[in-house]
C-alpha cells in the first residue's frame, strides 16, 4: 500500500477509535501518535523516555530487547509515555489492524495514567524535566569528566530502587530534609523551600494542637520537619535518623558529607525519575489488564473484515499468552477486570443481601477499581478462588536443580503473589543510622520478611553505597535464619554474625 494511503487510513482509524473510547467514558489526555522504526522504539523503551540522560545500562537494555526483536522472540508494538499531552509511539511495520489494536490499547493506558490514584502526583511534564536533567548531566560530564560522572551514576543507579514512593504518593513528597538534626543537613535547593513549608506546617500544627485524637503524633511529625527546615534549634535525638528511613537516596542526598552539588543533583534526578516510574511498576497488572480489556471492547465495535478479525485474534492471543515461569500481567489483569464486571453485573443472592450489591453495576465498579487500587490491593481484593483455579495459577520454587510447583491452594497463591509484589518485588531496606558507632558510618537494615537477599549482589552493591556515603557502610540482614552484618570499609566487604 502507498505510504500516504496508509497514513490516511491510520488517521481515520485514530479518529474512529478515539470516538468509540470516549463513548465508553474513557478519559484520557490529548494524544500524539508517532510511527517509529524498531531501533527508535527500542531505544525509547530502553531509556524509558525519549529524552533521558545517557548511561550504559540503557544501551544494555536496548541490546537485550533489540536482540529479542531481531530473533523474533518478542516485540514491542507500542510505547506510551505518561505525560500530558500523552505521547504514543507505534512500531513501524505494524499492520493496520495491529495499529488499531495498539491505538485502542494505548488509550486504555492513558486513561489509567490520568485517573489512577497512584499516578496523581507523577509529573506530567516529565518529558521536559528529563530532557533538562539530561542536559545538566551532559554539562557535568563536560565539566567534571565523563568517567567521574559515569562512575557516580553507576552507584546511584544501583541504588535507585531504594527510595520511598509511598511518601511521595500520599503527598509527603519528602523533598525537604528528613528529621534533620545536624547542621549540615540543610543543603542545596532544599533551603529555599524552608520558609514556605514552615508557614504551612506551623499553621497546621497550631490549628490542631488542642484536639486529642489517636493521630496527634502525626502533627508532631510536621513540627519536627518544619523546625528542621527552618534551621531552628531542635532537641538532639539519640537516633539519627529518628525513625528508620526507607528513602536511602534522599537520606544520602541530604546527609552524605563529601558530596559536591552536581552529585546531589544527580541523586535528585535519579530519585525523581524513579518516583515517576514507580507507579507504573506497582500497577503493571492493572494497567496492562485495563488496556487489554479496552482494546478488546473497542475492537469489537470496529468493522473488521474476516482477515482483519483473524489477524487481530492472533495478535491479541499472542499478547495474553500464559507463561509457566511468570504471570502474564496482560492476561491476569484482563481476567480479573472481566471477573469483577461479571460479579458486579450479576451478584449472587448472598452478595446482594450481605453487601447490598445491585445488578448491572459492573462497568461502574471496574472504573472505580482502576481509580483506587494498585496491583497489591487489586490481587488481594479481587483474585478469587475460582479465578486461581480457572487460570491454573501456582507458586513455584527452586528445589535442588529443579523449579518445582510448591503451592496450588488459592489463598496461598494469592498471598504469595501479593508478597512478590510488595515493594515492587524488591527488598525493603531502611537507614537505621547515619552516625553508627559515632563514626558517621551508615547502617542499613534489611527488613527481612521471609526471603534472604542475594549475597553475591549484596556484596557488590554495598561498595556503591559507600561510594555515595563516603564512609564505612553496613547492612544488617538475615541469612539462613541468622542475623548477619555486612560491612564495607572502602577496601573490602566483611561479614559477621550478630
Amino acid at each position: 500500500m502507498h505510504p500516504q494511503e496508509e497514513t490516511r487510513l491510520l488517521e481515520k482509524a485514530i479518529e474512529e477509535i478515539t470516538a468509540i473510547a470516549k463513548g465508553f467514558n474513557l478519559d484520557f489526555y490529548d494524544m500524539y501518535f508517532e510511527i517509529c522504526p524498531a531501533d527508535v522504539i527500542y531505544s525509547f523503551g530502553a531509556y524509558g523516555m525519549p529524552t533521558r540522560f545517557s548511561h550504559w545500562t540503557f544501551g544494555k537494555a536496548y541490546h537485550k530487547m533489540k536482540t529479542q526483536y531481531d530473533y523474533n522472540l518478542s516485540r514491542i508494538y507500542e510505547m506510551v509515555i505518561n505525560s500530558d499531552p500523552c505521547y504514543a509511539f507505534l512500531l513501524e511495520g505494524n499492520s493496520l489492524v495491529q495499529n488499531k489494536m495498539v491505538i485502542a490499547h494505548v488509550l486504555g493506558h492513558c486513561d489509567f495514567f490520568k485517573n489512577n490514584y497512584y499516578f496523581k502526583r507523577t509529573s506530567r511534564k516529565m518529558v521536559e524535566s528529563m530532557a533538562a536533567a539530561a542536559e545538566r548531566i551532559r554539562g557535568y560530564e563536560f565539566k567534571y569528566g565523563r568517567d567521574k560522572v559515569e562512575k557516580f551514576l553507576d552507584s546511584v543507579i544501583s541504588l535507585q530502587e531504594n527510595i520511598d514512593p509511598q511518601k511521595h504518593i500520599i503527598g509527603d513528597a519528602g523533598n525537604g530534609p528528613i528529621n534533620a538534626t545536624r547542621e549540615h543537613s540543610c543543603q542545596g535547593h532544599t533551603c529555599s523551600e524552608g520558609g514556605k513549608c514552615c508557614q504551612g506546617g506551623c499553621h497546621n500544627h497550631a490549628g490542631h494542637s488542642g484536639q486529642s485524637t489517636p493521630y496527634d503524633d502525626l502533627w508532631d511529625l510536621d513540627k519536627h520537619e518544619c523546625s528542621g527546615k527552618c534551621g531552628k534549634e531542635e532537641n538532639h535525638s539519640k537516633n539519627f535518623p529518628e525513625k528508620p528511613e526507607k528513602d536511602l537516596l534522599l537520606f544520602m542526598m541530604h546527609h552524605a558529607r563529601d558530596l559536591e552539588n552536581w552529585q546531589r543533583d544527580i541523586i535528585s534526578v535519579i530519585r525523581e525519575e524513579m518516583l515517576y516510574f514507580w507507579p507504573q511498576m506497582q500497577t503493571k497488572i492493572m494497567n496492562e489488564g485495563w488496556a487489554t480489556y479496552w482494546h478488546m471492547r473497542i475492537m469489537r465495535e470496529m468493522d473488521l473484515t474476516e482477515d482483519e478479525a483473524l489477524e487481530f485474534a492472533k495478535t491479541h492471543s499472542g499478547v495474553i499468552q500464559a507463561s509457566k515461569y511468570r504471570i502474564n500481567s496482560y492476561y491476569l489483569g484482563l481476567k480479573i477486570f472481566e471477573d469483577i464486571e461479571k460479579r458486579w453485573d450479576n451478584p449472587t443472592e448472598e452478595e446482594k443481601q450481605k453487601f447490598g450489591r445491585r445488578s448491572g453495576e459492573g462497568k461502574r465498579k471496574i472504573f472505580d477499581v482502576r481509580e483506587t487500587e494498585n496491583d497489591i490491593s487489586f490481587i488481594r481484593n479481587y483474585l478469587t478462588k475460582e479465578l486461581v483455579e480457572e487460570l491454573d495459577l501456582y507458586l513455584f520454587k527452586k528445589v535442588g536443580y529443579d523449579w518445582k510447583v510448591t503451592d496450588k491452594d488459592w489463598e496461598k497463591v494469592r498471598d504469595g503473589l501479593v508478597a512478590s509484589l510488595y515493594n515492587c518485588g524488591l527488598p525493603y531496606i531502611v537507614v537505621e543510622s547515619g552516625d553508627f558507632g559515632k563514626r558517621d558510618e551508615l547502617y542499613l537494615k534489611h527488613m527481612h520478611e521471609g526471603t534472604d537477599l542475594d549475597i553475591y549482589y549484596l556484596e557488590r552493591t554495598l561498595p556503591h553505597v559507600y561510594a555515595v556515603w563516603g564512609r564505612t557502610t553496613h547492612l544488617e540482614t538475615i541469612v539462613d535464619g541468622r542475623r548477619v552484618l555486612f560491612s564495607y570499609n572502602g577496601e573490602k566487604v566483611s561479614k559477621k554474625f550478630i
Binding site: W56, T57, K60, H63, L73, I157, S158, L159, Q160, E161, N162, A322, S323, K324, Y325, R326, I327, N328, Y331, L332, L391, D392, L393, Y394, L395, F396, K397, K398, Y401, D402, W403, K404, V405, T406, D407, K408, V413, G416, L417, A419, S420, G425, L426, P427, I429, H446, T451, D452, L453, D454, I455, Y457, L458, R460, T461, H464
Partner: protein, 336 residues
C-alpha cells in the same frame, strides 16, 4: 578464529547491574499452567538447557547475564595493540618512508590574495618610501605586495628493522614452538598494523642459523641441538651487511626454551652485548617447558645489565600478551 569469517565472539560478563535484590533461588515465584498443574510438578531444571520449541525455558529465569559482542580480528588487534609501540625509537639518517606535508616558507611577489603577507607588504611600502625620503607609511603599490607561498615538504618516518629469531631445535616441542610462533604472529601483526615501514627479518636456528621466509618461519619445523650463539652471529652479520645502525632502529627478539649448549652460553652473552651496541632493544623470551633446567640461557643472561635488554619467562599461552607488552612498551621508563 580460523573459520574464515574473522569474527571473534567475546562474552562480556562485566555488565552486571548490582542492586539489592532477593535470592531468586530462595524465593517463591508465581506462574500459570495450561490447566491441571499439581503441587510437586517440575517446571524445568537448571541442569540442562530447556529444549527449543517452547522457547521460554529455564534460560529465561533470572541468572547470570551473558552478552556476546562480535569483534573482528582487526578490531581486536587494534585494541590489543593500542598501548604497544617500538621503544627507544630514534631519528635515523636515511629516511625511507615519506609522507607529504605543506609548509609556508617562501615569499613571492605573485600569489593568491588570501595569502598576502601583510607584514612584509607594509615593510616593502615603508622601504620604498624611505628610499625616496618620505617618512612613515604612505600607501601600498602593486609592487609592494608580497605573498606567502607554500612548499611541499616530506615528513620522514624512522626506519626500523625487527629481527625475529626462533629456536627450532629438537628440544623445542610442539608446545614451545606454538608459544614462540604465537608471540611472533602477534608481533608481526602488531608491527604491520602500527608501522608502515618496518622490515622484519626471520631467523631460525638449531645448531646453525639461517634466514627464512615468513612462511617457512611460521610453518617449518627442524630438529637437532641448540647453539643460540649461531643466530646472534647471523643477526650481527645481517645488521652489518644490510641495516646500518646509523640508518635503522634495530630490534632483536629471540625465543627459545633456554636449553642451550652450556659451553655456548658464554659466547651468547658476549654476542648479545654486541647486539646491544647496535640495537635499540634486545628481547629474550624463554619458554618454560615441563622440565626444569638449572643452567638455562636466561640465567646466563642475568649478567647483562643493559637497560635495553629485556628478558621474560613464559609459562603458558596467557603469558604471550604480557611478553608482547614487556617488549613493546613505547615508554620504557614507565615500565613497572
Amino acid at each position: 578464529m580460523s573459520d574464515g569469517r574473522k569474527v571473534v565472539k567475546v562474552p562480556i560478563r562485566s555488565l552486571e547491574e548490582y542492586h539489592f535484590r532477593f535470592d531468586t533461588g530462595k524465593q517463591k515465584h508465581a506462574g500459570q499452567g495450561q490447566g491441571g498443574t499439581k503441587e510437586g510438578d517440575v517446571l524445568g531444571s537448571d541442569k540442562k538447557q530447556a529444549g527449543p520449541g517452547k522457547g521460554k525455558g529455564a534460560g529465561e529465569e533470572p541468572g547470570v547475564d551473558y552478552y556476546e559482542a562480535e569483534v573482528t580480528i582487526d578490531e581486536l588487534a587494534q585494541l590489543i595493540f593500542e598501548d604497544l609501540g617500538l621503544p627507544n625509537l630514534q631519528q635515523k639518517k636515511k629516511p625511507e618512508l615519506a609522507s607529504e606535508a605543506l609548509e609556508f616558507k617562501d615569499v613571492r611577489k605573485k600569489g593568491i590574495s588570501s595569502n598576502i603577507d601583510r607584514k612584509r607588504t607594509i615593510m616593502e611600502a615603508i622601504k620604498r618610501n624611505a628610499l625616496k625620503g618620505r617618512k612613515g607609511f604612505q600607501n601600498i603599490t602593486r609592487d609592494d605586495l608580497r605573498y606567502k607561498t607554500w612548499d611541499i615538504t616530506y615528513k620522514y618516518e624512522s626506519n626500523a628493522v625487527v629481527m625475529a629469531m626462533m629456536d627450532t631445535s629438537g628440544s623445542m616441542g610442539p608446545y614451545e614452538k606454538y608459544i614462540a610462533r604465537s608471540f611472533f604472529f602477534w608481533m608481526v601483526r602488531f608491527l604491520r598494523t602500527k608501522y608502515q615501514n618496518v622490515h622484519i627479518v626471520f631467523l631460525a636456528h638449531h645448531v646453525e642459523a639461517k634466514e627464512t621466509t615468513e612462511e617457512e618461519f611460521f610453518t617449518k619445523g627442524a630438529s637437532g641441538g641448540t647453539r643460540c650463539s649461531s643466530v646472534y652471529q647471523l643477526g650481527l652479520d645481517i645488521i652489518q651487511k644490510r641495516y646500518s645502525p646509523e640508518d635503522y632502529n634495530i630490534y632483536a627478539f629471540h625465543f627459545s626454551d633456554g636449553d642451550n649448549l652450556t659451553s655456548d652460553n658464554e659466547k651468547c652473552v658476549k654476542l648479545v652485548n654486541e647486539l646491544l651496541k647496535v640495537c635499540n632493544l634486545v628481547g629474550y623470551g624463554e619458554i618454560e617447558g615441563p622440565y626444569y633446567y638449572t643452567s638455562t640461557l636466561r640465567n646466563a643472561f642475568k649478567k647483562i645489565k643493559d637497560p635495553k635488554f629485556t628478558s621474560v619467562g613464559i609459562k603458558g599461552k596467557t603469558d604471550v600478551y604480557p611478553a608482547l607488552k614487556a617488549f613493546f612498551n613505547p615508554h620504557p621508563q614507565t615500565r613497572t
